[in-house]
Amino acid sequence: MNNLLENKKFRWLVGSSVLMTLALLFVPGIANAIPGSGDFISTESTSGRAITDLYDELVLICWGILILVEVLLVVAILKFRRTKDNQNPVQNHGNLVMEIGWTLAVVVVQIYIAWIVLDVMDETEIMPETQITVEAIAYQWGWQFKYPEYDNMITDDLVIPAHKNVKLEVTSKDVIHSIFIPALGVKIDAVPGRYNYWWFNADGPVNQVEYDAQKREQVVKAPLRTTRPEIVSTVKNMFKETAEKNDGVSGLERQVKYLPKTGLKLGEDRVLSTSSPYEKYSAVEYIGMCTEICGAGHSRMYFRTVAMTETDFNQWVFDQKNQGGAADGKVIYEAKCASCHGADGAGTPPTFPPLIGTKWMEKANADMHIEVVLVGSNATSLKGSTNILGQDYNGVMAAWNDALNDEEIAAVVNHERTSWGNEGGEVTPKDVAIKRDALGLPPFPAGGAAPIPDAKLMANGRDQYSACSSCHGVAGVSSIPGVPNLKANPTVLTDTKKVISIVTQGLDTPRHKGSCPPMATSSDSYNLSSLLTYIRKSFGNKRSSVQPSEARRLRNELEK
């Protein structure tokens, strides 16, 4: 034994073997421990998750085979080194049984892999019903996105509604490019002279009950795996501190996130020193780029992929169409008002009053006019008496504050005040904004409403909650048997749509018969969203706020 340790060759051998093992396993091991590395990142779309699961499974198989080969190799190196006793090994030229054995083993593994891959191919590539089509046109060096269903509108960024099957039709104006959105699992070449297509269904800001339910099922069926062993994630978390500690957020409901404001180069002249142009929408941005070499600007062909809630997408389309030229009051009047008030402003007595020569059209009463358009029949000037120019009217006017923005309201108001012989003078969008604020309405400037700050929603929500606190308790803990706590309530935490259905339609199931009356039936979107925000963010609940647009959308879905 002593002899062996003094043997120079043997020491070389042991050292070499150890170093070799280190070289082979340690270096990849370090790389594996880097936070975030090794995770396949197509996790933000339905097909992306299928691909990620497939990748994870393949990598597990491959790690298994790799470890088998390396272990055999290292064992052979250690076991069969040349020593005094091992000079003349047994000679053999092969073994047919073994050869057939490992051939069959490889065949079986490959057939298994092919089997699972074919499944995923069908799942990710055969497109379900198209819900929106976008043409992506590449050029040196940038992208254009064309919306054939929206009057061939053209944009620089790919803006799509979330949870819709988006069909991308991809082509190029010059050389071959390739569209790549890693997070969504999108990649297809843009070839001049032909159209390729790819489809995806992006997550976007998750707030949709159906989707949540579907996702929960998926989690049970095929949990997202990571290729790293547990010990690595433990080490990783040590470095990560508490920044990304999972505080029970399921990942289904996320804060709206945007691409970083600085540092990320989105093309040479689009360095993001300012903020994202999509901050005012409820949206999630994914980075997109070109992956086929296309000349010097290849590494500058970034674009944003913006997945919006459906209402925000419609708002965005509207903003796109109305950007540049000012809002046309006549067009808006004819689309929104003429059906009741008549194209000539004469009204339809005795239901809808005329707009000619009334007191709202007088110079001094511009404020009053704006208020009627903003809140409809709830305007103070319409309370009590509805006798206008000697005639009583019984119609109900809709509130337009969350359908038209300041500029549009100013335009339509101006149209009314200066047409048909009215001489009321003009108002500005700023007047509308001031009136909104005075009425306690959320701001809605042209180009879309900025998200309402959480503090404002919380303050209003506290007032709204006073109607609920008698049963559910001021602190969200109920003292009445059978009335659920709102603190850590799973429905409150995960199912916004269900909560809206309870507060607007009441809870009337066999189990909870008539237990919760419809408290918020007459609330507008702003109050409703404040209430939801309050119960989602109070009593120790830590969830995102709910913007009025989102509350309105969910409510509309319920009432459909």
């Binding site: 393949l58 003349n88 051939t103 191919m121 010059d174 050389v175 890693p182 070839v191 002279g193």
Partner: protein, 549 residues
């Protein structure tokens, strides 16, 4: 002054022995396959050095995000020229050099079948190399990568003169390797010695035969594709092979290109398999496990290599069913490759292993090539491939195949055959340092590139999202050390040349193919008497008990 050298290195005439100029000219005009082989290897080492310098420039630029060292236009020339240097002027000629040096010896022939053709094939290469790289000195080098997809590579989008010259150079390289393979096939089939039947050929010779078939069948396709691009470039608005404006199709070029370039991957690795097949039995003192299965798996790889080209094109818009078929065929390649890996392990198993440098490089090759093979299995899965296509995952994969595969086997071959070629050993200690440095830093450089790809970093990017900064830095510093350790190799050659350690016919003791029965270095026409081959079944080497009887 007289030039003294043993064997085929010796001057043939008195004039040559007195003048260095004449001696060098006798090399340049030589029809001796061994001299041509050495020239091939020296040329490829030079090209490899240029390719390495280009790769260092790439990695230096990518070490930090942002454009730090060069313009985007210059950066765009680098990936393509690095790849051309390494593929067309380093790996392929280097194997051709080994084949020239060893194949005639192994089959017991005095020389190659067509010495002049052989010399012509070699001399095309340096000129092709000058043409390919002259772009850097004339106007500008091509900026379209080694794939050269039109329309990017046509005269509208790449007006550089360098691009025309590069295309011409690729056609010339194709001509050169076609000439070479004709020669190898003629030699291996017609000039075998007594007793050597086709299934008695040493496995390195077999690998060159298979490689030559691949070259013969696939190279004309590349040449035609390259000439079509050249015609489009030289006669604008006349030819529209690949331009949709005139009814052409850019995808046609990709089919032609990959019909060559997928087999080219096997052209670049099969001779490496052959070298490892020679080295492992010698240092394990055991014959290769399953000789016939090894041959059949090489043949299977070469045939399958022709029917999988479209897996490089999964994202160009090929139909779903076609991609399913190509994916299935691609996965089949894992079967013969797996057989080879397991057969090598079985050869080592139960042997008497002597860890000399060539063997270390072979073992390192097996250990790391497996990684390249397995990442190939991941890439074969179409949905995953579409996500990873043109990202750094592919870069990591191809470098595990070509660096951990081809380059490791080339080094194994150089350390193994250096004593035979020059009659002296390379220093063992320096060789081991070279091996460990190379092995460790190949992993540092290329393993993290898999992660970059998985996280979505596209390849051929001059500038990247700062999110990828850390892994890129790891890869860059790894590549600097990897390059630095190659200096050890050159130091080793000069050191060993200086401290001549003369060797006999069979310096590795257990070599039992015909090249180990002649002097080191061999004479001009190697065999003094016509050699006779003992069938492989009885081939147990001088160490075996049966041989001792």
């Amino acid at each position: 002054m007289t030039i003294n050298a043993p064997g085929y290195l010796s001057p043939l005439t008195k004039e040559q022995s007195e003048s260095w100029f004449r001696y060098l000219m006798s090399w340049f005009y030589s029809g001796d396959a061994k001299r041509i082989g050495i020239m091939y290897i020296i040329f490829s080492a030079f090209a490899g050095f240029i390719g390495m310098a280009l790769s260092i420039m790439i990695r230096a630029e990518l070490a930090t995000p942002g454009l730090d060292l060069m313009s985007e236009e210059f950066y765009m020339t680098l990936p393509g020229m690095h790849a051309s240097a390494m593929i067309f002027f380093f790996v392929i000629p280097c194997y051709a050099g080994f084949a020239n040096l060893i194949l005639p010896l192994q089959v017991g022939a005095p020389d190659m079948a067509f010495p002049k053709l052989n010399l012509t094939a070699f001399w095309i290469l340096p000129f092709a190399g000058i043409l390919a790289f002259s772009g850097y000195f004339l106007s500008n080098a091509p900026q379209f990568g080694w794939t050269g997809y039109p329309p990017l590579s046509n005269s509208v989008y790449s007006p550089q003169l360098g691009a025309d010259l590069w295309l011409l150079a690729i056609a010339l390289v194709g001509t050169s390797s076609t000439m070479g393979s004709v020669n190898f096939l003629a030699t291996a089939f017609n000039m075998r010695c007594k007793g050597m039947k086709i299934f008695q050929l040493p496995l390195f010779t077999w690998s060159i035969i298979v490689m030559s078939f691949l070259v013969l069948v696939s190279t004309p396709v590349l040449t035609s594709a390259v000439l079509m691009v050249s015609l489009e470039r030289l006669f604008p608005a006349t030819f529209y092979f690949f331009s949709p404006q005139g009814g052409g199709d850019p995808i046609l070029y990709q089919h032609l290109f990959w019909f060559y370039s997928h087999p080219a991957v096997y052209i670049m690795i099969l001779p490496g398999f052959g070298l490892v097949n020679e080295i492992i039995p010698v240092f394990s003192r055991k014959p290769i496990f399953g000789y016939k299965v090894m041959v059949y798996s090489m043949l299977a790889i070469s045939i399958l290599g022709f029917v999988v080209w479209a897996h490089h094109m999964f994202t160009v818009g090929i139909g779903l069913n076609a991609r399913k078929i190509f994916m299935f065929l691609t996965m089949l390649i894992a079967i013969p490759t797996g057989i080879k890996i397991f057969s090598w392990l079985a050869t080592i198993w139960g042997g008497s292993l002597s860890f000399k440098t060539p063997f270390l490089f072979s073992l390192g090759f097996i250990a790391m090539f497996t990684i390249g093979g397995l990442s190939g299995v991941v890439l074969a899965a179409t949905p995953v491939d579409i996500q990873l296509h043109d990202t750094y995952y592919v870069v990591g994969h191809i470098h595990y195949v070509l660096v951990a595969g081809s380059v490791m086997t080339i080094f194994a071959g150089v350390y193994y055959y250096f004593p035979k070629a020059f009659g002296m050993m390379l220093n063992e200690r320096l060789g081991q340092i070279h091996f460990w440095g190379t092995t460790i830093f190949i992993n540092v450089t290329f393993f993290v590139q898999h992660y970059l790809g998985v996280k979505g970093m596209p390849r051929r990017y001059a500038d990247y999202d700062p999110e990828f900064a850390f892994l890129n830095a790891v890869s860059s510093y790894g590549s600097f050390f990897l390059a630095a350790f190659q200096i050890v190799f050159f130091v080793n050659i000069f050191y060993s040349m200086k401290n001549e350690k003369r060797v006999g016919k069979n310096p590795w003791v257990d070599g039992n193919t015909l090249e180990w029965t002649v002097d080191s270095p061999p004479d001009h026409h190697q065999f003094h008497e016509p050699p006779v081959w003992t069938p492989i079944e009885r081939h147990h080497g001088p160490h075996s008990p049966s041989a001792a009887e």
